[in-house]
Assembly symmetry: C2
């Protein structure tokens, strides 16, 4: 057994079943060990940002880490933007980065770089294996670190000689570092606040937005009248008919301020006080009302779902009926294709338990509105603001949930960053329907240019926000990457294409000419 085999077997022992990779020479022993070590599925990606974004989507849906296999510093660098998003989502990922053999580094060969330096800003844990005999133990610690609550990116740097030299054996899983229990005092404080008659918001993030945590939050809201809210880009939310209703904070600072107007206290469950996404001249970054009090019921590394359940019990008495979203499917739209009609068709036609890997950007407002009362779904958001996550996220979610339809509504500007994800969707025959909102623009920047007060923007400036020259043709791009694709110019065309995609299995792309 060599170091690479001990690594892959250890990952499998620790429950890591999938590896999204874009390997090179220094990772060839890892690749070779895929055949001798059953239990690891290797998914090839043409670009590293696809691999890391896919690991994010997988981790959010599977609740456990995938591995990523990257080629030295530059391979890691290409994956960093989506690791930034994953860090903001607190997604567990085991990030394996090959490096030159330990004795080769002294020569500063062309691919040599400061891998740990690249990894530091996104990693919750970094280790460089020193010997093939320590790789197995390092890998077990990497999985433990990735899974430690709330979840993080554990970067294991694997010099080539630690992969090819002899190892003892694989390692067994280390104890899981689960979420810490919330102290009673925090629960009592929250209970007291919720009895003081003030206007309250409970701001939820993490597991508190799903399953038992969400149910407990719903009971608390019913008992107390507190509003349930979540961040604009909460990583993973269960939504749709039958689910407890949670208001999502809007994107722009003044809209957040308006949404929170009159709120006197905020109870934070795995969340932080809401702030503006960007700063704007003369506008506040801090979006809560003046004098609003904060109580942190659960920190991000603590068990927010358990805390909500305990808080619900502490509030006592019989809970009134919980407010749930009712099913209300819009009619199929007709006529001109717009972001609204796309949203209506998606809401109407998407089957139950779909995963929405959402990078709809400026077109997303309508979608959120329409999905609120659609069939139940899981929603995955662009957590870190680094566009180009949606397609990889959908890919990873589809690997994690092979029996569920994955829908990926995506702005065209953002999709251009990681279009290579389509190839892997085709290769793995994943059940993903991608909807490209083809507005030929970085549309958000048209708003932002004005909002930041960038006066004097003329034709040169405006051309930097515009994607019309030339027009990307997403049906050609997608079929060029192996994915069946079609273009919809009217609502009727979109309805028909989307309906057929929902009835088929396998990857599909619809270019919605909004």
């Amino acid at each position: 057994m060599n170091g690479a085999q001990s690594l892959v077997q250890t990952l499998v022992n620790c429950g890591v079943e999938v590896c999204f990779g874009n390997p090179g020479t220094s990772e060839m022993h890892f690749v070779a060990s895929l055949d001798s070590t059953p239990g690891m599925r290797a998914v090839l990606c043409l670009f590293e940002g696809v691999a890391t974004g896919a690991a994010d989507g997988y981790g959010r849906m599977a609740g456990k880490p995938a591995a990523v296999l990257l080629h030295l510093g530059p391979g890691l660098a290409n994956g960093l933007a989506n690791l930034h998003n994953a860090r903001r989502a607190a997604t567990p990922i085991v990030n394996v980065v090959g490096d030159h053999a330990t004795y080769h580094l002294q020569y500063d060969a062309p691919l040599t770089s400061d891998i740990a330096g690249f990894a530091r800003p996104v990693s919750s844990w970094i280790c460089e294996s020193k010997s093939s005999r320590s790789v197995a133990a390092d890998a077990a610690r990497a999985v433990q670190a990735a899974c430690a609550a709330p979840g993080g990116i554990a970067t294991l740097i694997l010099p080539a000689d630690t992969a090819w030299n002899e190892a003892h054996h694989a390692a067994q899983p280390l104890p899981r570092i689960g979420p810490a229990a919330v102290p009673d005092a925090a629960i009592e404080e929250a209970a007291t606040l919720l009895h003081n008659g003030k206007r309250s918001v409970i701001l939820l993030r993490g597991p508190a937005l799903r399953g038992a945590g969400l149910e407990a939050a719903g009971r608390i809201a019913a008992r107390t009248g507190a509003r349930l809210m979540c961040d604009t880009f909460a990583p993973h939310v269960e939504g749709g008919a039958g689910r407890v209703v949670v208001e999502r904070l809007p994107y722009f600072a003044e809209q957040i301020t308006q949404a929170l107007s009159g709120v006197e206290q905020m109870i934070l469950v795995g969340a932080k006080p809401p702030v503006s996404f960007f700063a704007y001249p003369g506008k506040a970054s801090w979006c809560s009302p003046e004098g609003c009090a904060f109580a942190q019921l659960a920190h991000e590394h603590e068990d927010g779902a358990q805390a909500l359940d305990a808080l619900d019990r502490a509030l006592g008495g019989t809970a009134p009926a919980v407010a749930r979203a009712e099913l209300a499917l819009p009619d199929l739209p007709t006529g001109r294709l717009t972001a609204m009609s796309v949203a209506q068709a998606i809401a109407r036609l998407t089957p139950e338990q779909a995963v929405i890997a959402d990078e709809s950007a400026t077109s997303g407002l309508h979608l959120a509105m329409m999905l609120a009362r659609a069939r139940p779904y899981d929603h995955l958001a662009l957590t870190g603001g680094s566009i180009g996550l949606g397609l990889p996220l959908a890919l990873g979610a589809a690997v994690a949930c092979p029996d569920r339809k994955v829908v990926c509504p995506h702005g065209d500007g953002g999709a251009a960053y990681t279009m290579q994800a389509l190839w892997t969707m085709a290769r793995e025959n994943l059940d993903v329907t991608t909807v490209i909102y083809a507005n030929r623009s970085y549309a958000i920047l048209n708003f932002e240019l004005l909002r930041v007060g960038a006066i004097g923007a003329g034709p040169k400036a405006m051309s930097m926000l515009d994607l019309h020259h030339p027009e990307m043709n997403w049906t050609r791009i997608a079929t060029g990457l192996g994915v069946e694709a079609s273009r919809a110019e009217t609502a009727e065309e979109f309805n028909a294409q989307y309906e057929s995609a929902m009835k088929q299995r396998g990857p599909r792309l619809i270019e919605a000419m909004i």
Copy 2:
């Protein structure tokens, strides 16, 4: 005048005329200032790795820096792999990275990250502007730092409020920090060595591979019998008919060792002793013969071309005729399309003074052989080994040299990383002919898998090197991104398509089905 305007005007004052960018909200003032500040051409890229690779191509050909405009940490992250290549090429680049407003950072909004941390491994200089009133001076220092010999990446982090707040005025250029003169002692040492009768190699890199430096090297070789060589991935070499002949070191370690067999001394001009690109079990990383002596005539930051000229004069006497490549164009190939027939057609049909932005990977051996006696050209190499540089490099070279044909021979695996470059080629109507070697494989890894001794590689492993399922269709991808494209299945088809591309102006892609 705001900080952004003072920045752009300062860059223009310092001779920076082109900005390759992918801006976001925090860079909107920079974008707006493009209209109020004449003299800066803004080139929009759909992905940051395209922008940084284009700045590398521009810098290598223009001999001065372009600016890059990137959006916070993740935007920088997407550009890092090609900045790694640019660092290895010692290309001057002014790398402007927008950040949140200084007062906004405390809130840790979703896009917040450690920008300086990301930048450090690739930057020769990093500065974060503290105030709108210091931006102009910071920008002048950035240009000075980027241009300091041998050239490097100067990263200027620009918080949004330093862009939008009031500034005094633009700054004037700072003195250039040119290459240091080589001390007489180094020239005397080299002259002594070249007279000692031992078998010598002069290993050239940087400006010594072009113009007067290359001519001086040719005279020295003619006088002394020393062999002229350059690194496998020398950044920028003038080659073809009429040029002084320089042997390029091969890629694999044992081939380098063979090429250097019998060499007793090596004189390094801006170069380092040759080492293996990767380590292989049981093979040496150090590729020079045992006992080979080294003399560093010029370090990378020193003036190698001037040192060669001084050395030539120190050797004295009348120089014999310099060995130059003679023009020998191959016949146009017929029949099956192979890497060799593609190389023959390119060598035969490419006009004089073309720029070859080369990421031909495993198909490149034939090309190098055929180009050696083709019409004179400039050759740009994949300096840092991070694949996905070729297309952006071609883009940047075409912006720098609008009157020259740019040819981009590219492996299909590598081209998939930065295919978005095609869109910018179309947008700017750049005169680039891309040739995709469509072998549907990471072909190099088939060699490397064996060479690293990765035993036991079965079907799972082999599938990680294979790009057949699905097959990328590069004609669809390219036309989807706005570039005219065609597929060649035979040598005759390739000849006809390539000949027509050479006679036209504007972007063109040929998918060579080798």
